[in-house]
């Protein structure tokens, strides 16, 4: 079984995000970057598939600046076998990135192309499905758990009010959410081994994203709340406020 996992370097979710001087990008100073948490699930899923089968290969691909090599190494430390860095503008989003990833995947032989459900920087939730469409492959998004047998994948995806069980023919695209694949911590041995694994570098064939960010701003601060009171005696006043002031119940 051969898997390709597309991974992105993103700010840690704890990081304070500041808007840069140009008003339309993020100031990278002091930002701690990590492997996108959803992509961790995807790497974990691919490595587990390989381990369960006792054979196979996991290739991780990232489009970004030279720093993305570090992110690729962290996936190699989790058990991926080879990495590809597509050098290009790390701020590129959506269709631009999907085009670059699709161009890379097109020439490769694989059974599964795995993605995170979304990147926690642009929060777009699109690249996996776009790559599937560009490669004309079947896909299931927001998958919490899947099984592979022969050329068939059975995936569980979260939908409103339940779970959809989807059957797909390989090769196919899956985008992962939290579920069965709690990511492992890389072992020291894994980290050492990662340094020797192949990391190929190429230039990304970025397309046009068709969307331009004109301006970033901070969300309006929520007015700090009002403490209605202490203990159960405050309940009638809370209910009154919700009814008469907020008019929401």
């Amino acid at each position: 079984m051969k898997s390709i996992v597309c991974i992105k370097r993103v700010p840690d979710t704890e990081t304070r995000i500041r808007i840069a001087g140009d008003g339309r990008s993020i100031d990278p100073a002091g930002v701690k970057y990590v492997l996108n948490p959803y992509d961790e699930f995807a790497v974990e899923a691919a490595v587990r598939q390989k381990e369960a089968a006792g054979s196979g290969e996991v290739t991780v691909v990232s489009m970004g600046g030279p720093e993305a090599a570090e992110t690729l190494r962290s996936a190699l430390a989790m058990g991926a076998d080879a990495a590809v860095l597509l050098r290009g503008d790390p701020a590129a989003q959506g269709l631009a990135v999907a085009a670059a990833l699709a161009a890379e995947l097109r020439g490769r032989d694989f059974d599964l192309a795995l993605f995170g459900m979304k990147a926690v920087d642009d929060d777009l939730q699109a690249v996996g499905a776009m790559v599937a469409e560009l490669l004309e492959l079947p896909s299931a998004t927001v998958v919490s758990d899947f099984e592979v047998s022969g050329g068939t994948v059975v995936a569980h995806r979260e939908i409103e009010g339940g779970t959809e069980v989807v059957e797909l023919k390989t090769p196919c695209v899956l985008t992962l959410t939290k579920g069965a694949y709690e990511p492992r911590y890389a072992s020291l041995k894994g980290i050492m081994a990662a340094k020797k694994k192949p990391l190929e570098e190429k230039t990304a064939e970025l397309g046009d994203s068709g969307v331009t960010t004109d301006e970033l701003s901070y969300p309006p601060e929520r007015q700090p709340g009002r403490i209605v009171g202490r203990g159960p005696d405050a309940v009638p006043e809370l209910v009154r406020l919700l009814r008469e002031e907020a008019k929401v119940i």
Binding site: T13, E14, I17, I19, G94, L95, A98, V120, D122, D123, L124, Q125, A132, E133, L134, L137, P138, T141, V142, E158, I159, E160, G161, G162, T163, E164, V165, V166, E167, L168, C172, T177, K178, G179, D208, G210, V211, T213, E215, L216, S217, Y218, P219, R222, Q223, P224, G225, I227, V228, G229, G231, P232, V235, L238, V239, L241, L242, R243, A246, V248
Partner: protein, 326 residues
Amino acid sequence: MPCIFAFAEARDGEIREVGLEAVTAARQLADGMGGTVCGVALGGAGTTAEAKKLATYGADDIFVGESGALATYSPEGYASVLARFLKARGCDAAVFPASAMGKDLAPRVAARLGVGYASECTAVGVEGGRVVVTRPEYAGKVVARATITGKPAVLSVRGNVFAPRESPGAGRLQPLDVSAEGGGFGAIVREIQAAAGEKPDVAEAPIVVAGGRGLREPENFKLIEDLADALGNAAVGASRAVVDSGWRPHAEQVGQTGKTVSPQLYFAIGISGAVQHLAGMRTAKYIVAINKDPDAPIFKVADFGIVGDLFEIVPRLTEEIRRIRG
């Protein structure tokens, strides 16, 4: 004349609320462009009868593709039908709900047409003939204003933001020929397993009652469920701490690695208010926090707070709400 497409999501022959929200957002764009709204519904038998109601929310043209092959959702099948339709009609914008289906489908449609896509939009408008949207990024830590340059401009709108607004449109109902979609798709839905209970989904409910580690034990979520029942039309939500402990399913998790919700009213009960949790609910219209720690960060975003023991406060609240709702 400009034409704005709205995907009127249907399931089991019924148009979903989020589908009406998409039509409402499309109506807003059409008014900005001096154009018409064209609502499209795909599904199995019964969809046509249901789709008539799109006129009430501003659809001028209603197209329905009814067929057995499209009765259950297929990313490939739906994307192929819609991309063809959008191209043939030369639509200027295409609005999808940011639902499980919409967010699976819209990026596929955009990629097929080679145009840009913006997800989870919280505001839409027209400037100089172009579609301009507002969407949260970095889990809501910043808000982006973006221009979608492609034609059609493909976007999805966040749930509960564009409340369906009555605004009668001409509502010319026409069938959409989908006979070419015979199936044979690479991905097929085998089964839909319904989650236990009949409560609405946390991402779509107008009221969310969320519980956290302060509940101490999974059984105590009964308090949360009872309050949700008393409120009616309320969903149960959970913090990651309780989902990770296996007390609640991930489908209920609110936050950065869970769902993003924008209900009218959000109760955070025994939830501290970590940044990753706030990321998922800070756009709620009203937030109520119940926590025994007066310094809990959740009080910084809550409109109304009660400091104290949730085990005393919540039953009293449920009782009070039952009383006033009769």
